[in-house]
Symmetry: C2
Subunit: 459 residues, 2 copies
């Protein structure tokens, strides 16, 4: 079979593909808001209908939360099997007043479609469905075995996805998985993301007294939990940005030479990055470049801090309580469970006995790294070069996509992250957009990937 006719089909159906994406974008499938429960289900059905029209074995699998759409097409046991993960749910739209148009009335603005979910993840996820459709309609069958997991709770932490993975474990074998929920490195610089960070998230609560005290009448006689909190936070990192929790770096996978070389070659504008963020200076662990710190070095951040009086003016209160949310982004080989133990025992050690300490474990997720010397990765590189007209750069990401580690741990499947989005797409922000050129190129790249796999001798 020739890929040309598939490419032609994709080119010829470009407008219809955009219209169908806009239909999907019109469904306000906000998973975090319970009044949108029906809309979330509607989006699941929309996606499932697409699979059914291509004769996939399609199920809307209920979970304790929103359902997972699972669609599978085994064309030949001798062919490679590609898994696709994506999500049909979207972020809330607040602050709604900052949107130029109704977030669920997709609007074409120049090269982009503007709508909630345009890039995250409806638009990106849809490219892999439309690529399959192009094969089905032009060749009459899929080029490889395909398994799609399209969930409805990614924006609320994929809280029930594991229920699905556990129940369907035996059906989920695959040679590798693809996710398009990240981005290109920059406009015109397509990328393959082969590493993600993990997460260990805690809440610390300190209590110094039964109720808030008058800072004059009681100051100097009891510990102030907000002061103690400052001391604890200060002891988590040293002045060079290094995390001081004993044993924290023991299992860190060091950056390899080729990675440092590749990252150094990327067209990264430090000053532009600093300007975009609005920081007076960039900062972080000494001895590593900005991209190295961002993608491959563990970090520790206070995500929230509170205690006492935060209103206008001055109140001379000695707070009874203070607290903070503190999380670490982990890198490959760091075990969240071990970090949890190191963090909690260190904090217990440095916290003085003058306050009561409570530590809650809020979340944990493994980092991931995908081998770059595989046939699947080679296929992905070629597919992007053919779809985007440019070879991809190899990058990592500081964020966490827990499903990547779940797929690895539960079904031993490595994931290749093929992001079609752009850094300024505004995922989770007002006026989220997706470049329709990238949508089209993404469909082409996905089709090329399937075609490369068919020829790869993989599996």
């Amino acid at each position: 079979m020739a890929i040309e006719q598939v490419v032609d089909y994709i080119d010829e159906n470009r407008e219809r593909y955009v219209e169908e994406l806009m239909d999907l974008l019109r469904i306000p499938s906000v998973s975090a808001v319970s009044e949108h429960k029906e809309d979330v289900l509607k989006a699941a059905e929309f996606v499932a209908d697409h699979f059914r029209s291509m004769d996939f074995d399609t199920e809307i699998v209920p979970t304790t939360g929103h359902p997972v759409v699972y669609a599978e097409k085994i064309v030949d046991d001798g062919l490679p099997t590609m898994m696709v993960y994506g999500h049909y749910d979207v972020q809330p739209v607040d602050p709604i007043e900052l949107w130029r148009n109704d977030p669920f009335e997709p609007t074409i603005e120049g090269p982009n479609v503007v709508a909630r979910g345009a890039t995250d993840d409806k638009g990106q996820m849809f490219t892999h469905i439309k690529a399959a459709e192009a094969f089905y309609r032009s060749e009459g069958r899929m080029p490889v075995n395909l398994k799609y997991i399209i969930e409805g709770e990614e924006e609320v932490g994929s809280v029930h996805l594991v229920e699905f993975l556990d129940a369907y474990e035996e059906r989920l074998s695959a040679d590798f998985a693809v996710i398009s929920d990240t981005g290109q490195f920059a406009e015109g610089v397509p990328a393959i993301t082969y590493g993600l960070k993990g997460l260990a998230y805690f809440q610390i609560d300190l209590k110094g007294s039964t109720q808030d005290l008058h800072s004059g009448s009681f100051g100097g006689t009891v510990a102030n939990p907000a002061n103690v909190l400052g001391q604890i936070i200060a002891k988590l990192r040293d002045e060079t940005g290094r995390i001081t929790i004993p044993g924290f770096y023991d299992d860190v996978l060091p950056l390899e030479d080729w990675e440092r070389q590749e990252f150094a070659k990327l067209p990264f504008d430090e000053e532009g990055y600093r300007n975009y963020i609005g920081a007076p200076q960039l900062a972080g662990e000494q001895g590593y470049s900005t991209l190295e710190r961002r993608w491959a070095r563990p970090t520790l951040d206070v995500n929230g801090i509170w205690g006492g009086y935060a209103g206008e003016g001055s109140k001379t209160v000695l707070p009874a309580k203070a607290g903070a949310k503190i999380s670490m982004r982990l890198v490959p080989r760091q075990e969240p469970a071990k970090i949890e133990e190191l963090f909690t025992s260190y904090v217990r050690e440095i916290c003085p006995p003058t306050v009561e300490l409570e530590i809650q474990v809020m979340a944990g997720a493994h980092a991931s790294i995908t081998p770059t010397d595989t046939k699947a990765m080679d296929a992905a590189r070629i597919a992007i070069e053919k779809g985007f007209g440019k070879a991809p750069v190899m990058i990592r990401e500081g964020g966490t996509i827990p499903v990547v580690a779940d797929l690895k741990q539960k079904i031993d499947v490595d994931t290749i992250l093929l992001g079609w989005g752009l850094p300024d797409d505004g995922t989770h922000s007002p006026n989220e957009k997706f470049n329709l050129g990238d949508y089209h190129r993404g469909i082409l790249a996905s089709a090329h990937l399937m075609n490369e796999l068919r020829q790869s001798g993989l599996s």
Copy 2:
């Protein structure tokens, strides 16, 4: 003249004095709440009427805020002049649901009257008016020259009192001033408070980026203002509780030996105090007892801290901003203006250039200490012994009463603090109370003080 007939008058009118206090307590003169503006004025008029009925030169002096009642009676230039400061405004009543009765329908519960303002300061302030009345009605004239400053904005920081003091400066000369707005050391342990702490109150705002960032995508590349805030707070005190701002202790008036001995003799139950506060342990600057730290050593407390996400669950945000309110309680000889300079330059020095720093000066007040070897102080000691049947202990206070420093600086008048309240009166709390026995004894002590002064040869 004999004091006995004055004492008899006070005893005979005990019930009427209580009823009149209850009338005053019925006026909801909450200075902080603008809808109570008329009530505040009504309380001023109530107080002024009392003075007028005793032929005082009485004025309701307008300020930019609530008025000051000023009443003056010069009986003889050769007699000593006693000034009384008090306030007729009260704290808000929130949380109202915790009150057993309407806070402005005074209720007799056992030995106490329960109402907002019962002890702070209507009940205590009123004792000095009722003592004067006893002289006026029984002897026909005042025993000494009397000047009363009863303001209506103490509970909102005496924000406009200085307008009055500036305008009336020439009329305000006095041998000393009396304020009853503190407390006894404990039930049955009357006290004279001869020292108060001052205050230097700041707000620190740190900004690390234009808006909140994703802690995965941006963590490790820019400073986190909440982490930096923790570092700054940690550097303000060392592990022994000593404040580490260079020069901070330079002007501190050390405790004298007699003070340390007196404090050590007080019936202070450390374990009871700790239990009352609900602290796991007492804490504070090494080398000083709890009462010494509380009354006579400077302290530094975070009064409020904020930044990032403080809601339920976990949000992986790298906050754009974080801030804290930080105040120091100062001791005599420490200048708030100098402390302001030391604090701000030290914080600027320790704050890294990776965040933007803003420091606001929120409030400043001088500490005060009243000489204990004066005729006025001797008179006060005798008066309390006669009124309460027990010699007072000499104590200091960790709180700040700015008017005490103002009277000293503007008109060179020392203040003696004669507190009739009890530590558990619940000033500023629901079900505020005042022991009516202490009310009566306070009136007696005030009358004895006037009588002692008349005989003292002071002035």
